[in-house]
Symmetry: C2
């Protein structure tokens, strides 16, 4: 027998023996029914102790590779249907139509490039030094005592109840959302909520209205359902309700009223009410993605669309990614009463719920006031960064470049002159050590107006200024 | 104006004013264009300071509810399309065919009854005192230092790389799985992996083979896809390959070879190889759910089916719910090379990945040896509990009751006499303060043989014995 024991290997010697004999049987080098050398001889040959061989034999026997017959010796099992016939070609799994659509989906992680530039204007990052990790650590530790049974059970599919309570209260007080704790369901992020909602609400050939430019990752989920996505252009005050095509039969619209993504801009009250009129007239549902509604730098955040609706037509999506930290992976959805049961039944089947420990810590973070204090700090820190960015753009950039000016959110969109090659600019900026992200990815109309996205939340003020200075050279 | 300020309320007074005026405008009690009382008069009427009224007015103005005209006063905005016409009937969202199937799905959280009995044989719980929370706390704290940027960014969709590395090594060494770290993808649990796989691999009317009794939550996911689920009966050594209907055109089979769920029993090597033969002959994929393969009490765990396959036909599912704690919400899937890209593209669209902090802590938990030590403790603790349970069943139960005897896993199935009413038994046990769970939920054939499930992992040895004693009285 051909056996090699590697003395330096991390794997135990018995395991190495076991694995090699096993593979020789599977590959037909040791034929079913054939006799193996005695353990003593094998030990000598492999240069290991006999007990090591016996341990390997025990495992091989437990798994059915070999049998030992008293007085006769050890044999490769005789009844093994070996070899499993080899394939002529390499095997390619057949994908469902859904799987094929996934491969064709245009969405790419545009904000998470493989190569991170020294000064990277990636979107949605949080600046590490703002979050109060010491408090967070303390809250986590609270639930990590050995006699706490909470962690040893599957949690509720809808989420940890105290967190749902804390959110219902917070959302009414600070976002003008009207809901009971029962209507709040914890998810792993807005994307998960959208995935479940798209499946619940959209059938093949159903129509959904979306904003362009907009959050294309949501649109792709709608398309995966086989739905028709109708793009409604946005202007400086968001979703243009009056531009909804008269012939549209959509019964679902996806909107970002607080701060249009990615263009910036807030839907004013008359437009919000007009959207509710539209929804009632068409018996439609609205998905309000409030991805960064907390982050306004010119006064208190404006209340959500959801609070204006008395009809249960608005589904509200929120996330902790932007206001706590992205790696937390926690979001929430506020559902109209009639959607609760379908959503929870679906969630129960597709994902059993978020980690209880994290949910408990976030609940305390909110109820003990840390959350609002943190939001206050965030608004200060990010508002200042935004100010630095906008000032640098005014100081260094050519006149013909304009940019979104809403004092909100975590990024600024830079609109370039028509002749500008967006992709080339991104590449040249990268050569200068600056990471900027193409705006075309967010547009449904083609050709998209050339633009780039500058996320400022992960950078220091110095880096922001230096980044713009380098960008200006590239643009010059 | 009709305004009520609650001095005791948690909500600030300005907020109470703001909300009441806002609601009066929305409900048509204050008409568009009408003049509001002066702030001084309003303050007097409501019994608050004038600055409180001004604060409320500022928010109302920012949100577009009121306008202030210099010298003229404050008015409800004139251009508001109010009221939004009321609905005649209460609104019910129209569900997609998928949504309708979700509501009809038979799966219920059978192991998570709303009422927990004093002695509860719920499945899949972990005993709180076994997990080394002190070590866990230390590992979490390691990544919670304020200068760590890891948490401030979105993590990789495929999972935290060091965890994928640690798992690839662990899985080969202890589960006989053959894979690279790249093939390991972190998910929020086996259910999420199944949801994505069902969508990728099953189209409308495609056929999938499943075990009966079996893990019905998986089958429901297949059915939601519109797929045809064919039940293959299991015997004491698991999935009966020879019982696959000859006319079956299935190209997917879902199996639990290490410890058949919920009947118990391990697929022997010849049967495993026969299943691989079948898969090659039918160009099919196998999903191996190794939900508790680590937990064998009669020696080393047996290697996984995946390691026998050289053709990339086996998808391996694992979870930390059973061996760390359920509330962690972390699982993994080992994918054949050609499925990696489709799976990751899908995962990117439906869920952005698991929390980085938890993943980092689990990675260290494995690489620093805590995981294997913990598995050792688990096997001792659970093996002993199982022993106590089996002994108590032998001591107290009537002869006609038999039970699964595989020395593995976290539960024992109790098979009752044909005449026994399963549901009535569950109710009577509950009356005696004992939670047991109906076996019928796991069977696809009807009528299902009466049986109940006894999970022992969340109970002390004393409680296990007392629970069986009470159950015996109920059965007598």
């Amino acid at each position: 027998m051909d056996l090699h024991i590697n003395e330096q290997a991390e794997r135990p010697k018995y395991w190495q023996l076991y694995w090699q004999i096993r593979q020789q049987i599977l590959h037909g080098d040791l034929l079913p029914g054939c006799k193996l050398p005695a353990s003593r001889a094998l030990a000598q040959q492999a240069g290991v102790a006999r007990v090591t061989v016996l341990e390997a034999f025990a495992q091989l026997q437990a798994e059915g590779f070999i049998v030992s017959r008293l007085g006769a010796g050890t044999f490769v099992a005789a009844d093994l249907p070996l070899p499993v016939p080899a394939l002529s070609d390499s095997f390619t799994p057949a994908l469902s139509p859904w799987g094929q659509r996934v491969l064709q989906a245009k969405h790419r992680k545009v904000t998470q490039g493989a190569v991170r530039q020294p000064i990277d204007f990636g979107f949605g990052r949080s600046f590490p030094h703002i979050f109060p990790y010491d408090i967070w650590r303390r809250l986590l530790a609270r639930y990590l005592s050995t006699d706490d049974v909470m962690l040893s059970r599957y949690g509720s599919v809808a989420g940890f109840y105290p967190l749902r309570q804390a959110l219902a209260d917070y959302l009414q007080r600070l976002r003008g959302v009207q809901c009971t704790p029962e209507q709040v369901v914890i998810v792993s992020g807005a994307q998960q909520a959208l995935d479940i909602l798209a499946r619940l609400l959209l059938g093949h050939r159903d129509e959904a209205l979306v904003e362009t430019p907009g959050y294309t990752a949501a649109f792709e989920l709608f398309r995966l359902r086989g739905a028709k996505v109708t793009a409604v252009p946005v202007d400086e005050t968001g979703f243009a309700v009056e531009a909804i095509p008269a012939e549209s039969r959509a019964r679902l619209a996806f909107v970002t009223p607080s701060n249009q993504f990615p263009r910036g801009g807030t839907m004013p009250l008359p437009r919000r009410l007009a959207l509710l009129h539209w929804a009632r007239r068409h018996d439609a549902l609205l998905i309000e993605d409030d991805y960064d509604g907390e982050l306004r730098y010119d006064g208190r955040p404006l209340a959500a669309l959801q609070g204006l609706d008395e009809d249960g037509r608005v589904i509200y999506l929120g996330t902790f990614s932007k206001v706590l930290f992205p790696a937390l992976r926690l979001g929430y959805v506020v559902l109209p009463e009639p959607l609760l049961t379908p959503f929870l039944r679906a969630k129960e089947l597709v994902d059993r719920g978020a980690p209880t420990l994290t949910q408990a810590a976030v609940a305390d973070f909110i109820t003990e006031g840390h959350f609002e204090r943190h939001l206050h700090h965030l608004r200060e820190a990010y508002g200042q960064r935004r100010q630095v960015l906008v000032q640098a753009l005014a100081d260094y950039l050519p006149q013909r470049v304009h940019y979104s000016s809403a004092p909100a959110g975590l990024h600024v969109m830079l609109y370039l002159s028509e002749a500008c090659d967006e992709a080339a600019l991104v590449r040249r900026a990268a050569d200068a050590g600056v990471g900027v992200y193409p705006g075309a990815a967010y547009h449904l109309q083609r050709p998209a107006p050339p633009s780039i996205m500058l996320g400022f939340s992960g950078l220091s003020e110095t880096d922001i200024e230096e980044g713009v200075r380098r960008l200006a050279k590239v643009l010059a």
